[in-house]
């Protein structure tokens, strides 16, 4: 039988908070693991009363939802935390934001609504904006057109088990091109599935169908995540929590 540490079990989770944060600037080069470490330390610095798992190696209750790849910026990363003392979500947001590096911004914090289901179930799609410095927007527009016209676009994707061919086309719900300052911009709505299709895979697909080769490395930003609806837009995944309200209205502790 597994041994248990002496003493009482840790206090239970009494409140779940759902958080949207952004990674910007230099910190687009942070990996998921880097961000997770930074977040855990910031929660401690901000003295957020985290709930912990039981056992010899107690861990704070934090669940991460699919992270943007290393090198991509994001305005819509989501995480859920469990607290052992009820807190005002806005106070937690502000304290956490102040404790994180400047390039990580805590944008929203809401209490998980009763009976609203899991956050993961409300996210199946990413909205991307990819800046391609030095590329002619018309050239991009032609490539996007060719891509959308194709039924299948096979690209080689690097996975843990080496290179593997995937079809990048079906995951892309919509895509378009626009012009930015000194760059072309690729806008796209991409379903999250297995295998994951990332901006790099779509760029590889554009190279495959239209021989598109941007002269400089791309800068991708995930602008939003959520559930894709019939109209081709994604719904705010924190929406249901906002309308459901908090489960019980005891006094909030100060952070």
């Amino acid at each position: 039988m597994a041994r248990q540490p002496d003493g009482p079990p840790p206090p239970p989770t009494v409140q779940k908070l759902r958080i949207r944060y952004a990674k910007r600037g230099r910190l687009r080069f942070a990996s998921h693991r880097d961000l997770a470490r930074a977040l855990e330390r910031a929660l401690r610095r901000a003295q957020v009363p985290m709930a912990f798992s039981a056992g010899f190696s107690p861990h704070p209750k934090i669940s991460y939802l699919g992270a943007a790849p290393t090198g991509a910026a994001s305005e819509a990363e989501y995480v859920e935390i469990g607290l052992s003392v009820r807190c005002d979500p806005e106070a937690v947001r502000a304290a956490l934001d102040a404790s994180l590096p400047e390039d990580i911004a805590v944008l929203e914090c809401v209490e998980a609504g009763v009976g609203t289901g899991s956050l993961a179930d409300r996210i199946d799609t990413s909205v991307w904006r990819v800046e391609l410095p030095g590329l002619d927007p018309d050239e991009l527009a032609r490539a996007v057109e060719a891509f959308l016209a194709a039924d299948v676009v096979t690209v080689a994707k690097r996975t843990k088990n080496g290179l593997r061919d995937i079809d990048a086309r079906p995951s892309v719900a919509s895509a378009s091109a626009s012009a930015g300052a000194g760059c072309a911009i690729l806008h796209m709505v991409v379903r999250q599935g297995t295998p994951v299709v990332r901006p790099d895979d779509v760029l590889a697909a554009l190279a495959a169908v239209a021989d598109l080769h941007p002269p400089l490395p791309p800068r991708a930003v995930r602008e939003a995540q959520g559930r894709l609806d019939g109209t081709g837009t994604v719904a705010d995944p924190l929406g249901p929590d906002r309308t459901a309200g908090a489960p019980d209205q005891e006094a909030h502790a100060a952070v």
């Binding site: 230099r26 330390r41 401690r44 610095r45 090198g71 590096p101 390039d103």
Partner: protein, 658 residues
Amino acid sequence: MSSVGSYPGPVMTAELRTTTGESLYPRLEPLLAQIQKPIQYVGGELNAQVKPWDAAAVHWALMYPDAYEVGLPNQGLMILYEVLNERSDALAERTYAVWPDLAALMREQGVPQFTVDGHRAVADFDVLGVSFATELGYTNLLEALDLAGVPLHAVDRDESHPVVVAGGHAAFNPEPVADFVDCAVLGDGEQVVGDITDVVKAWKAEDRPGGREELLARLARVDGVYVPRFYAMSYGDDGAIASVTPTRADVPAKVGKRTVMDLDEWPYPKQPLVPLAESVHERMSVEIFRGCTRGCRFCQAGMITRPVRERTITGIGSMVDAGLKATGYEEVGLLSLSSADHSEIGQLAKELADRYEGTNTGLSLPSTRVDAFNVTLANELSRNGRRSGLTFAPEGGSERIRRVINKTVSKEDLVRTVTTAYANGWTQVKLYFMCGLPTETDEDVLEIADLAVEVIRAGREASGRKDIRCTVSIGGFVPKPHTPFQWASQAGPEMIDNRLRLLRQKINEDRKIGRSIGLRYHDGKPGAIEGLLSRGDRRVGRVIERVWREGGRFDGWSEHFSYERWVAAAAEELAPFGVDLDWYTTRERTEHEILPWDHLDSGLDKEWLWEDWQAAISEDEVADCRWTPCYDCGVCPTNGTEIQIGPTGRSLLPLTVV
């Protein structure tokens, strides 16, 4: 030193820019998208600082010549970074060794070696301070200089180039890198970096009179600063040094080390750096004392950092408090060369655990002597945090060899201590040993197996569990300057590899026990090169340069280290001098041989070191001068220092709840 210039080597083509202190980040960013772990190059760590360039009179680039993940947690560099940045007339930024993937792109695109704070070119700084914890970082220094566009050889630099200053423990014998550094600093850095700043500032303010030569001459007169170019070496027919002669009348014949007294006055780092990237130490550290007088004869750190200077219990308490608030770490390492020896360690551990009750904050002692361990202490350390494994370092397998190295502990005490740990719920114990110690025989090493088997047998009985584990970790011994073993013959890689093979066989003889014992070791080859670099003289510089030109980098990493490249370079570059790799490593030195570091003074009397070396051969022990009378090692009278230890009788008050 021109003969080496003909080898095909990397060429740095970065153009020198006209404005200094400008950020290179816009040029670096496109490269970061194409490499591994880009986060290590972007800076912006918690508590990092970027000061305006023009506001500072003296600009320091501080380098740790290894990968970011190893260099960032380095306490020495973190301390100097803060001490310098607290001065209004100075600015300090950090730079680390760049991995080959980025280095190749930097050469291709003409982006020079940069600091991670302001992404400023290293060549723009006045001083490049490099901290050498190990000699295996030397090729990374050459790589950084080349990437920076700074001439490799000190003699080729002019007053527009940074002054390259080596520090850290390896700087106690900087001769192998004497051609590449302008200065070496001996001892504690906290005060001397200020003195260097003052000298550079005054020289710049006077419009650089006398050029680089004059600046270096002024630096040579700063206590603790050694300027190799002002000392001429001559060699005898036997290959040994015949003389070391100062070439200027105004530099000291012997350079002494710096010692910071009263650590409570230097509570650094106050704002420890916290990386986003994973680093080798995921905790904050507080140095609870500096120096060690246990007298382990293999230990260079214990010899060159004397005397013992304790931080007080209250001083430690406030550093832990401030550091945790500034970092959000959940573990605090109480750092020193032998932390359980602090005069108030029991009370300190208990009172810290009381303070952080219920906060999941763990305490750890990075190294614990078997004879200083007790379960009460260990329980206090792990009371609030995660219970990690315990590590002990008996270093020698047999009682005999432990007397030789002066780390005496009986087998019974060792087994009892480890068994007690198992009985109290620890399931993992790690034991550190060395192989290739002076006078060592196969039997001394094979006793490690007996010890491990005994530990598991007794531990299973005491704990009533079968799943306890013992990891035996072994490194090859490398004799170091300024220790009693500085004269010793280093065991060759074949001997070390053979003894480790015999040990593995013996551990596996009884599978029922052997499966609970892990054996971790590295082959003996890197140790031979570390030995060459540790006890080398100025002639070894050619070997380092040759290895770097042929692609040598990151020699502390097994996937980058090439023994063959080092051996071939040593053979060719040393042959003209009539010496070779073995001459520097496996050769035993005689009492009166002039050693390459004899003109650098750690405070230890050479006569005392020799006596202690003879005592080692006779298996005689020497006690710790903290608790027994002084045995005249020489440090305190030479440096005007004294042992500073408690107990203070003070205690930690509970922190007020905010």
